[in-house]
Structure formats: structure tokens, C-alpha cells
């Protein structure tokens, strides 16, 4: 039963993502052509509220449901890995028109050919694991 809440959170996430159209290839294409505010509005409004949530949690020392301190792990400092890895991810995001979260939402929505993208993304993650020690980070 401890997993039920995560299924519920994922369920809500799936509905929001589908209804926002952020999982549509068309919206991603339109975003990268800077022809609509829609995607930027989603990201920036999520971000503004997200920043507020994180600040409130830190300043008021809000605990999680288990009464533990909420941990924010700082991201490792680097430029190379974020710019190069991020760039490769961006190429894929614009090509397939989906990032990891939306892939799952699209499977549920019945766009089954996204399973090819998912399988390739798992393979891509595996390939990264194989060559990781040879890449700059």
C-alpha cells in the first residue's frame, strides 16, 4: 500500500500533462519555433510556484509526511555535462516531441508507437552507462 500514493501522484501528473497538451509533438515543435506562449507559460508558472514552495519549505523547515527533513540535493557543479548532455537531450526532445514523463502519458493515451521511443531511450541510458567513464562530466 505504501506505493499507492505514488501511483496516485503519477495519475494526477498524467492527467495534467495530457490536458495541458505539453505531451503533444506539435506543442514542442511550436515551442522551439517560439510561436506560442503556451509551453513557456506552463514552465514559468510551474517554476514560480515551485520556487515559492521550495523557499517556504526551507524557511519554515517543513517536514515531509514521515516527519523527516526535506532534502534538496544540490546538483554537482559542472558546465560540460549539462551543456553537452542537455544539448543531446534537446535534439531528441525536439525530434521525438516528447521527454521522459510525457512518453508514459502518451502510452496511456494510446499513441503506442511512442513505445519505440521509450525502448530507444532505455537503450540510450544503457549506452550512457557503458561509456560514462570516458565522457567529460
Amino acid at each position: 500500500m505504501k506505493y499507492l500514493k505514488f501511483i496516485a501522484i503519477g495519475f494526477v501528473f498524467g492527467i495534467i500533462m495530457y490536458k495541458s497538451q505539453a505531451v503533444s509533438w506539435f506543442r514542442i515543435y511550436e515551442m522551439f519555433r517560439f510561436e506560442a506562449f503556451h509551453m513557456y507559460g506552463i514552465i514559468s508558472s510551474a517554476l514560480m510556484l515551485g520556487i515559492a514552495f521550495v523557499q517556504i519549505i526551507k524557511r519554515r523547515n517543513i517536514k515531509n509526511i514521515y516527519g523527516e527533513e526535506i532534502q534538496f540535493t544540490p546538483k554537482a557543479k559542472s558546465v560540460t555535462r549539462y551543456l553537452l548532455g542537455g544539448g543531446i537531450f534537446g535534439l531528441g526532445w525536439a525530434l521525438a516531441g516528447a521527454c521522459p514523463g510525457p512518453m508514459y502519458v502518451l502510452i496511456g493515451a494510446g499513441a503506442y508507437s511512442i513505445l519505440i521511443v521509450l525502448a530507444a531511450a532505455i537503450l540510450g541510458t544503457f549506452l550512457y552507462g557503458l561509456v560514462r567513464s570516458k565522457l567529460p562530466h
Binding site: 500514493k5 506539435f26 522551439f32 548532455g85 542537455g86 521527454c99 496511456g108 550512457y128
Partner: protein
């Protein structure tokens, strides 16, 4: 009210709700990031035998797979019971650009047949688009240590400079693909 739910949700509804999803995950002792489950799936499949990167106690990451299960179910319910139609109300400039690339009625369906339809997927070029797209997504997101949710939402919400660099990287890649590669592919 019911009608508003059945219509596409505007950005000022969707964005704040996504922030709430992040908050729920923080309150349940986790983090919002949708790409780390790909690494977990590799580990479950036995990738730890060939690369140390996949040697970790994946059972601690099962929660993440449960989020995935929920997201699939949410997509199903939203598409089948909570949507009046599948039309994407694109900017007219976007429609014209897609039509000049040979797209028929862009935005009429939720995802384009020209990319995800049966005919496209069973052609060599179409299959390559999905496979290369997926490979880049999986490889890039792990190298960058996160995707849109992990960096653009979670990382930036915590004011992380690395996440800002990653998001800049996402957009460099996305713009290069959209303006300099896709025109030759579509």
C-alpha cells in the same frame, strides 16, 4: 465546470498543478524527476553486470516506477474520458510551416500521423526518427543528470545553476533540431 475540464487546460492552470505534483513528491520524501526510472529499468534488466552505473539497489527506486504506472493510467483516463476532442490549437505560423513540410491538417490530431502514425513508423525514415530521438533522450538526459522535470522544474525551483545550464543546453539542442535538422527530415 465539466466543459472546462473537457477542453484543453490553459497554461495558468497546468503549470501551477505541475508545481503541486513536485510538492507532493517532496512531501512524500522523494524528488520530481521522470528520467531516472530509465536507469532503474536498465538495472532491473541486469545492466549492472556490464556497467557499474547500474549497480545500485533498484528496489529503493520502485516508487519511481509506480509514478510511471500512474502516469500511463492518467494519460489513458485523460485521453478517453476527459477530452472533448484531440485538436491542438496551434499558432497559424506553425501550421503553415508544417504544411509546407507536407503535414496534412497539422494540429487536428493530438500527435502527428506524420511522426507517430502506422505508415510513418513502418517506413525506414520514420522508424529512424523515433529510434534516434529516443536514443538522444535517454543518453542526453542521463549525461545531463535530469530532464525537463528534474532540471527545468525541480532544479530551477531550487535555484540550481547547473540546472539552468542544462536547460540552456536543452534549448540549444531543441533549436538546432527544429531549425536546422527537422526541415531536411520532414
Amino acid at each position: 465546470m465539466i466543459d472546462a475540464i473537457l477542453q484543453p487546460w490553459p497554461w495558468y492552470v497546468s503549470g501551477p498543478l505541475i508545481a503541486l505534483v513536485m510538492l507532493f513528491l517532496l512531501l512524500t520524501g522523494k524528488n520530481f524527476g521522470m528520467s531516472s526510472n530509465l536507469r532503474t529499468m536498465c538495472s532491473i534488466g541486469g545492466a549492472g553486470k556490464v556497467a557499474d552505473f547500474f549497480k545500485f539497489d533498484w528496489k529503493r527506486q520502485v516508487w519511481n516506477l509506480m509514478v510511471v504506472v500512474g502516469a500511463v493510467a492518467g494519460g489513458f483516463v485523460a485521453a478517453h474520458f476527459l477530452s472533448a476532442d484531440t485538436v491542438i490549437d496551434l499558432n497559424q505560423d506553425t501550421v503553415v510551416a508544417l504544411e509546407s513540410s507536407g503535414f496534412i491538417n497539422p494540429g487536428e490530431k493530438y500527435v502527428p500521423d506524420e511522426i507517430y502514425g502506422w505508415e510513418a513508423v513502418t517506413s525506414f525514415k520514420g522508424l529512424m526518427i523515433l529510434i534516434v530521438g529516443g536514443l538522444f533522450i535517454g543518453f542526453g538526459t542521463r549525461w545531463a543528470g535530469g530532464c525537463t522535470s528534474g532540471h527545468a522544474i525541480s532544479g530551477l525551483s531550487n535555484l540550481q545553476l547547473p540546472s539552468l545550464i542544462a536547460v540552456i543546453g536543452f534549448f540549444i539542442g531543441g533549436i538546432v533540431m527544429t531549425f536546422f535538422i527537422l526541415p531536411y527530415l520532414l
